[in-house]
Symmetry: C2
Subunit: 318 residues, 2 copies
């Protein structure tokens, strides 16, 4: 590793690639990791693949989250999608663009965070590309495997229950804290900088017979809306089942916000929402939060939801 004062321009592309490749310890499914034209992974049957792009200034700020956290966060965004199909991530490919004046240590720490998050599901960084750009851009492609059939967004049927695994609203509240220039409650800031998707809960839902599943990255109401539209059903969410945690309540009181707004409209925790037929038993660590009916759209406690619905890129705000 280089001294922290060196920049990417100091060390150059090829030394950076060598340093980043050294962090990647091939996982079991990986026959060939970084260093050749492509990665080579073992797969028998179906391969899952998903890409997420994080852009500095839009998805993270270097003054808000440490580079290692950004690595965890970038990996988690793609790995959560694999989980939401009922799969397990086996490898990550990382496209990394950055200005030459970026400290090389920032890139090394990013790579460490990516590798650590990948290791949570037994995966590793298997390849990637580095190049110059004015802002830091991180494009992570996660590859995954399945034991069961993929659980899509389109299988929910009237009569199913809607269940949740993982945290809701923590990352959004953490972002609100950071935007006001604060660093605490630290649990919320940590939730924003390093989300904790429930990686085990996706495959568990698939084994239990989940009819549809999605990860919450845009916001609960928005993402349940995607699931409802893909399935051609209506979903009603029951806020009595969404009890905001203590730090959420505290921050909401301080900022004069309904804590449910963070739970219903906030993304970035990468919680999972799944639907289960009544014949299935909802697995451990899943909480029933709603019901599926004929019709379309999402209601909250039987009424249209008027609060913030989540984020859409290119539109105003951010």
């Amino acid at each position: 590793m280089e001294a922290p004062s060196k920049t990417l321009a100091d060390i150059g592309e090829f030394a950076l690639v060598d340093a980043l490749s050294a962090v990647a310890v091939p996982a079991d499914a990986v026959l060939l990791g970084p260093g050749d034209d492509t990665a080579v992974l073992r797969a028998t049957g179906l391969v899952l693949a998903s890409t997420d792009v994080l852009v500095e200034g839009h998805h993270f700020r270097r003054e808000w989250c440490a580079a290692q956290d950004v690595g965890h966060r970038a990996a988690a965004a793609s790995m959560a999608d694999i989980t939401a199909m009922g799969g397990r991530t086996t490898g990550l490919l990382v496209g990394f663009a950055a200005p030459g004046e970026l400290p090389a240590q920032w890139a090394y720490d990013l790579a460490a965070g990516l590798a650590e998050e990948a290791a949570l599901t037994g995966a590793s960084v298997v390849g990637g590309d580095v190049t110059a750009a004015r802002a830091v851009v991180i494009a992570v492609t996660a590859l995954g495997v399945l034991d069961d059939s993929p659980v899509t967004r389109s299988g929910a049927r009237p009569g199913d229950v809607v269940a949740l695994a993982g945290r809701l609203g923590w990352a959004a509240a953490g972002l609100a804290v950071l935007r006001r220039g604060f660093r605490s409650p630290r649990a919320l800031v940590a939730a924003y900088c390093r989300p904790q998707p429930p990686y085990e809960s996706g495959p568990a839902a698939a084994r239990a017979g989940a009819s549809a599943m999605i990860d919450v990255s845009d916001g609960l109401v928005a993402d349940v809306g995607h699931l409802a539209r893909a399935s051609g059903v209506a979903v009603d969410l029951d806020t009595a089942a969404l009890v905001p945690a203590e730090p959420l309540v505290a921050v909401s009181a301080a900022y004069g916000v309904d804590p449910l707004h963070y739970c219903l409209g906030g993304g970035d925790d990468h919680a999972l929402v799944a639907t289960f037929p009544t014949s299935a038993s909802v697995p451990e660590r899943w909480t029933v939060i709603g019901t599926v009916a004929e019709g379309n759209g999402v209601t909250v406690d039987g009424r249209p939801y008027e609060g913030p619905q989540g984020h859409e890129h290119f539109r105003v705000s951010g």
Copy 2:
């Protein structure tokens, strides 16, 4: 499709995703394309995966190449890596970041170019992510399958011959033309904007028993250097076998450049270089251009090569 005058900010993320997804006609190997949490592809045995990132201002300029060409070019960069392992691309995932003021039609044309290039190997765009950024960034991950064992960079042995498939120097000469503000010779500009990797030649080399292979993206001497280092051998290239084509000779004469500099130092044509043991017969469309010996490094006509060696990101120039 929207009117050409609309921007990404006008139509918003979700409408853009819908429009881009509509271009993606799932190929045979694709069980589930865009629109769910992940793509799902069939694979039995080994999966190849490679990511390349193109950044506006570094890898392309919107005034030099049409959006559809940029799509072809971005897809080709990743697909050439699959070919260089002896594989066939089955699916592309596209991370796309762009400013809100970008005309929506540019994104549609980009998507059309990506889909058309993918179709050359029977592949399709299977997923992706769109987000906002100040400059256009395109991160393409190609997934592929193999009939034979992967042909890595590390299998070249003393006594092997070195062979080339595809064009050399055309894209570099096209870039030189564009940098001087010209648009002709059009064949060279087209070679830069829409490279033509020899997709059939990679699997053909694998079938013929190639011992090592790489695609030329940094420049012939630089990429053969990667192969030589990975294999622990020396390579000598024979310029008598590298006859520059007529438009290259014409442009070189006009610019006072040795045409061999484009052939030996220019990347972006995505030609393939492979080594073959003497027991193998070099397949059709491959030309022998050198020999492998004990030692290390790359020589040209038996001498060290002093010309431009190819591009390294973050360093000076571009």
